[in-house]
Symmetry: C2
Subunit: 233 residues, 2 copies
Amino acid sequence: MNEVKALFFDVFGTLVDWRMGIARESEKVLSPLGYKLDWFAFADAWRSEYQPGMEEVRAGRIPFSRLDILHRRNLSRILPRFDIKADEKTLTELNLAWHRIDAWPDVAPGLARLKRKFWLAPVSNGNISMMVALARRNNFPWDAILGAEIAGDYKPKPRVYLASCEAFSLQPSECMMVAAHSYDLSAAAAQGLRTAHVARPDEAGPGKGERAPSIEVDVAGGSFEEIAAKLGV
Amino acid sequence: MNEVKALFFDVFGTLVDWRMGIARESEKVLSPLGYKLDWFAFADAWRSEYQPGMEEVRAGRIPFSRLDILHRRNLSRILPRFDIKADEKTLTELNLAWHRIDAWPDVAPGLARLKRKFWLAPVSNGNISMMVALARRNNFPWDAILGAEIAGDYKPKPRVYLASCEAFSLQPSECMMVAAHSYDLSAAAAQGLRTAHVARPDEAGPGKGERAPSIEVDVAGGSFEEIAAKLGV
């Protein structure tokens, strides 16, 4: 554990409250056009297309496309379900809702503290421009943006974790993946990375997130302050 | 020009004084072993292998290797000329001299100022871990690390500039390359990027840097403060 030099972060759910953000931003774009929806249901529907969309890439059925492109495709898929018709400009704006999400309140102070000791990077399925927009909004002090776009594939494929270690010129055992999702940590551990679980019990709706990891991890906590303390920072 | 949203920076020569840094760090590693060299001549010799080393990659004769690897190979090439024999551990340490270079004094305040208006990234031939080390040492407030390693090729190949624009989801006309070298700006302009030249007249030794651009550029100045003022920040 003393060997760890870099921390890699999952972003959606782990750092940012995507459900609240997407509900709020969707309402902001669509309600002026007269739409009145259950905005949380809309966010959930959009998010539910997330894994199937990436699976097309992971399975090699379509070439790698950045998450903004997949989100736009997924949006087209759910619009009929909510009876939404909007022009391209509106939909482009709506699609950027994923760039305008707020972090959980413990994240910015926790990252500032962790930065004193570790190199920090998001290792997310989100694309680089999305990561930059979220970092600027929320004061994430990244050393670099790693993850899916530099790997050309999506988590939990091994390549994403390994490409991120290589980008920092580190061995997997010198890198720790931090996430609120056990499947992500499990995939990282299989490549030799260390793991930290942060509980986000309300991530996908009240009580629908992981209260604790379902696998063995190196560190677990309820906030980034707690993770930082356990990592000796 | 009002369209510009991101600034891309060349690093060696433009942001950091590689000649002074490599001379100092080489002395630090080698003089305890009894070597007394003209350390500037050593830095110049090492740097002179830089373009030929990358040309192997650009021409497709060898697959892409990150600059740390090329630097190490170039180091082996010059050691006999200076009659240096050292163990692998020492040479690895010496090779990391390129991670421990100081910036010109106008850079950190200039970048902090530019960051208010633009997304900032290095678009260097240096690898990601090298860019992170230099950023931490010199307080470069990058939004992301772009450049050769994410493009899989070396400047001035078009792919490096274009991959960097794509990573920020921007058109080339929305990106401005900032460099002390006209060949770099010329290659960026050929791909549709905007250009800014900063003069570093002593970059490669007293009077051996470019005092002014040898091509037409959008902005030119003698410091980052001057560039920032001309970009309206």
